[in-house]
Symmetry: C2
Subunit: 328 residues, 2 copies
């Protein structure tokens, strides 16, 4: 069983609540995975120690040694300097200047690469997912915030400097919504699941006859991002207005990104993408009508992500792509 | 005098009114140049024939032969497929599907490369200009429209498909201004010289006591993009309001582009950039306060272009960079 066929990579998705750790082969098939609680309030050294030990245990439990592992990729929330593997700042896990790659390398003595989690998810969809076979892709994840990743010529584009490639932080709205980044009216302030829930709560409070009230059990704090779509589906006027506005802002942000990157494909991930074509078809229509160059230019398809909850692990392992470690 | 030192390139700036043709050495010094009228209403074959003959005459008049010329770069307005050298569509010169590079190659039998004119200007500022020595740059030209070019890792980024990289066509305003591209509220509809002149005319018409009225000789059609800045400088309230609004929209668009590309530098070209630090200093302040990541992330400087009216020729010749023709 020894030999090159046994070579595997570790892909790690570091989240605010849980850390998912996976073993992947060169085709980025997820062979085995585990999950441990992050408990991010602890000192970061303890978090990293748990990750390192869980990764080694996962290898061992599945019949692999560290020698079978060609490298580790890890995606972290926040601003990550992928050159140095340092998490510069993460609001989500409250880290600042944490040399994640170097710390992890002490537990698993193989090349370790780190990047932003949305960047990893973008790469995962290109290597094995909705954008498979595409060289240029724009990825947006619609969750607590609006994360994003850009793949150019098959490679992750991480900006000229750390802190780059935050397509959720382009100005899109005009309603005077404060974004988490401090600026007014970013795409994230309108197209995140958080923004949709905020707007649904406001709408439900103003329209107690709306179906939204029933769907959240008359408890605003129970509102989630699916309820406005469910209400719209059932013909509720408030639900229709909310989802149309949400999709409109998202479509406008995607049009900006198409005009800048003109990718082969646009992939949407995160919880909201469970809406599938209810979400993507109006956006595809909007792009055809609004992208620069109209029929003369290439209009990419907008599709939903395929890797789901595994996107982070697949994409993190994908960070090893292009570094020659698979061939070493 | 024969030998490698004599090798030169031709850089051509194809404009709606005039075509500028220059001879440049490998350091992108402009050794000689000429200008001919475009007369774009003629069949495109005639326009290209004139360009080809003028380029050959320029070489000859300066003591060069076609054998001394290692290649030709040409920048065209509109949507250019740089892979094929075809101008797909140019509203400015009314061209559609014109195989510019191939047509020009019949007159000068050397490698010919074509790209969008703003892309060329961006490249020119990196090769020899305000962004010299930078690997990553965002360039915006503030003229009739808002053109743009992006340099990543020293290379022009032209998007995944033709029609890409139009940073003037990201949504920025909320006043309901129709952009030339058909969409509402693009950066171009607020930050072009055309938009500033439009707003100044409206403001002057509404405020006949404003200095704007005097500066344009009480003839609105005489208004230009310098007058609002002159009025502001003289303390005129309307001038101050106009220029602050203009700079605010531009700063917001640049913040979007920094959040996406995180470049080393942002360079502003076009007529409005004659305002120098009056334009750039408020934008630099805005970026420090509004870019994602704040003090943790890299905030690029915003500066004005240095190549002026030669930017198109220098950048067009720069298209030869990275194609190995200088070393052939």
């Amino acid at each position: 069983m020894a030999g090159i066929q046994r070579k595997v990579a570790i892909g790690i998705d570091l989240g605010g609540t849980a850390v998912k750790i996976g073993i992947l082969n060169r085709a980025y098939d997820l062979l085995a995975w585990t999950s441990i609680p992050t408990r991010a309030a602890r000192p970061c050294a303890e978090v990293v120690a748990d990750i390192g030990q869980a990764a080694k245990a996962l290898l061992r439990d599945n019949g692999y040694t560290c020698a079978d592992c060609i490298g580790v990729g890890i995606g972290s929330p926040g601003t990550v300097d992928s050159q140095s593997g340092i998490v510069l700042y993460s609001n989500n896990i409250r880290w600042e200047q944490v040399p994640l790659a170097a710390m992890l390398n002490k537990y698993i003595p193989v090349p370790v690469f780190a990047s932003n989690d949305a960047n990893c998810a973008a790469l995962g969809e290109v290597l094995k997912g909705a954008a498979a076979g595409c060289k240029n892709a724009v990825f947006l994840t619609l969750g607590t915030g609006v994360g994003g990743g850009i793949v150019i010529d098959g490679k992750l584009f991480e900006g000229g400097h750390a802190g780059g490639v935050e397509p959720g932080h382009i100005r899109i709205g005009s309603e005077g919504r404060r974004c988490t980044c401090g600026r007014m009216d970013c795409l994230e302030a309108y197209a995140s699941a958080t923004a949709l829930i905020r707007d649904a709560k406001e709408m439900a409070a103003q329209h107690p006859a709306s179906l939204l009230w029933e769907l959240c059990g008359r408890q605003l704090e129970q509102m989630d991002a699916k309820m406005p779509f469910d209400a719209a589906q059932a013909g509720d006027a408030c639900g229709k207005k909310l989802t149309a506005r949400y999709i409109g802002y998202l479509a406008d942000g995607i049009t900006d990104l198409v005009n800048i990157f003109r990718p082969d494909i646009v992939v949407l991930g995160g919880g909201v993408c469970a809406q599938g074509e209810t979400l993507t078809e109006p956006i595809n229509r909007y792009l055809r009508e609004n992208c620069f160059g109209g029929p003369v230019a290439h209009i990419p398809r907008v599709v939903v992500a395929k890797n789901g909850n595994h996107a982070g692990m697949i994409g993190a392992a994908g960070l090893l792509d292009g570094h020659g470690v698979w061939d070493a």
